[in-house]
Subunit: 366 residues, 2 copies
DNA sequence: GTGAAAGCGCTAACAA
DNA sequence: TTGTTAGCGCTTTCAC
């Protein structure tokens, strides 16, 4: 096809090797030679072949990122972080999207999927089964997971149990005792560990404070905005009418957006919680919408908080325990890259997360 | 390193060529041979080398996707669509993220970036300058852009002017005459064409209805949620106090979320628009928040609509002109794939978009 | 239906 | 500092 290293060699009268070295700017080549080669390469419109280089070196200068689905805030952010670090190192990023539960997860994992196209792998929040692990191991690539801990693999991520504790502590510190939890499995994300860890963290923290965890206050928000709305509706169905009249005027603002009929949703019987802790900001945002639809003022009637540090939450004043997925992505990328370069696989520290108190949490009114 | 085609050959007593053919299931190979080869390959844990195959065939079975930034709703969705189609075809997806204005766009475009690692390219909403175009052309890869039309390249995307017209028609049909527009350049997205086209479409449609386009009602929402909030605040600053008292009770719901101080923002002097048309749902969502913060009921005091079909908008009842970025991604991927396979580059039809009337638009109250 | 041999475009010893 | 010589692991004529 097009121009190869050979052409440059003939044009310059140099050998292929020298051209190759010059192109890579190796110090053993005369500066003048380098310049000349570069110039000729430019004139000829030379485009290097990563396949050839890869074949020769055994290094593809690319790392793969496996995501359960892409359209999730956390994955997108983490992907961005991985990407930034790879770009810095001159590595390409090959995206392997499992496409959710509907996607042919099995086939995707067929070892041929990897085909030695990448030198390492970053797995986003997945828990692999034995077969999958085995197939991946087969490629002998450095691997690291972002998100939940995975057996046998190094991982970067926050301490989910601790994060949940921080949230509960905040709420309890404000005076809340009736705290509901919105979590649930992220079916689409196929992430198993994180939801459980956060929920366990919630339960543990509640127990630590001597507070009861009512089963009717553990709602499923499917880790999505819409799921959060649903969970909120269920949670607030019980005492909706009461709260509305009391504070609607005081809040000073009204929003009719999609409010119709919300109060009619079926919900847990009994009293309404004074605070709702959500395992993700997207769900928390949904719960806030549900609260408004149910005629409840936030945080006067009910406090709501999440986990993540989502941009929308910032704009809207959502209290949260913020983590930094971009940094996690970068850290993961650096780790694989280091391992690709032969470094020892040292254990990784938990990523930081910190409480960000904004406008959706406050002391309970009763 | 590990197992190659050769090992399988020696173990089975066949030749490399036959093994190669068998592995690819070519019809010229005996079925029994195919089975045998496959079995041995499995036992040996054989992993094909895409680099070697690529070198030999000149085909990498991978296509590159160039995005200005990844963390934008549209790009993520489109990326998902491209990915789905590529996976179907057994192609890998190499992600080239320009990383926004801060990212070294120039360096990224260096032709060596592409290195023949991919057989084709899908460009998300970018307008390239001459140099960039030239460098990309150099690789002689089939290319297609998603989003705005780009000179000299095929593109898939909605007819932005028409979409804006549909929106304006809807609003005018409802009785609105005082319509504001929230658009602006998406600096991060580095997309030039689309914002202009939508704005032009808005202006054109307004003129067609004989309606005035006030310059103070053309606000910059930076194509983001936060930008939408800012734009909305500016737009609503003028008549905030008046609207609030009138409808707060009627809306039946109150939200205190981050409401403090919004009314104090500087805004355009004069009267408030009765409707706001936003060039994206994210901005529209922001405008809705700003309206609520300004004490305005939606759609009683002001109608708001966007473009996109964002999931959040659905939950929240946002009226919009929905497009399908996933389908656009698929279409683009199919087009490159076809061209990679030698098909003629036939022109692509505009992608469909349709009005989705929900709860944020209604007749004007004055 | 299978084998032999010649590369694909580059890098990497080893010489010079 | 530069050139020579082998491959890297696969596909692909062209024979058999």
């Amino acid at each position: 096809m097009s121009t190869g290293i050979q052409e440059i060699a003939t044009v310059t009268g140099l050998s292929k090797s020298t051209v190759s070295r010059a192109l890579r700017g190796m110090s053993s080549v005369a500066d003048t030679t380098i310049d000349q080669v570069r110039r000729v390469a430019d004139e000829l419109g030379y485009v290097p072949s990563s396949a050839a280089a890869g074949l020769a070196t055994g290094r593809q200068r690319a790392v793969g990122v496996v995501v359960p689905v892409i359209d999730r805030w956390f994955y997108v952010k983490a992907l961005g972080g991985v990407d930034a670090e790879l770009r810095r190192a001159g590595y390409d990023l090959v995206l392997y999207n499992l496409g959710g539960p509907g996607g042919d997860r099995d086939r995707s994992f067929r070892r041929s999927m990897l085909r030695h196209r990448v030198d390492g792998l970053v797995l986003l929040s997945l828990v692999l089964d034995e077969t999958e692990r085995a197939e991946l191991e087969l490629t002998r690539h450095p691997m690291i997971v972002i998100g939940g801990p995975a057996p046998g693999l190094r991982n970067v991520g926050v301490d989910d149990v601790a994060v949940a504790r921080v949230a509960v502590d905040h709420l309890v510190g404000l005076g809340h005792r009736e705290i509901a939890y919105v979590g649930g499995q992220d079916e689409a994300g196929m992430n198993v560990a994180v939801p459980w860890l956060r929920r366990d963290g919630f339960t543990l923290a509640m127990h630590a404070h001597g507070l009861p965890v009512r089963s009717t206050w553990i709602a499923d928000g499917r880790f999505s905005f819409a799921g959060g709305v649903d969970a909120g509706r269920a949670l607030f169905a019980a005492g909706a009418a009461a709260g509305a009249a009391g504070t609607a005027g005081a809040a000073g603002a009204a929003g009719a957006v999609g409010a119709a009929g919300a109060a009619g949703a079926a919900g847990a019987a009994g009293v309404r919680p004074t605070a709702v802790f959500c395992a993700s900001d997207e769900m928390a945002l949904g719960v806030v919408v549900a609260a408004r639809q149910a005629g409840l003022a936030v945080p006067e009637d009910v406090s709501v908080m999440g986990i993540d540090g989502h941009e929308y939450g910032e704009v809207v004043g959502l209290t949260t325990v913020a983590q930094d997925p971009v940094a996690q992505g970068r850290a993961a990328a650096r780790a694989v890259l280091a391992e690709v370069d032969g470094a020892e696989a040292t254990p990784l520290a938990a990523s930081p997360a910190h409480l960000v108190v904004r406008a959706t949490t406050g002391p309970p009114s009763r």
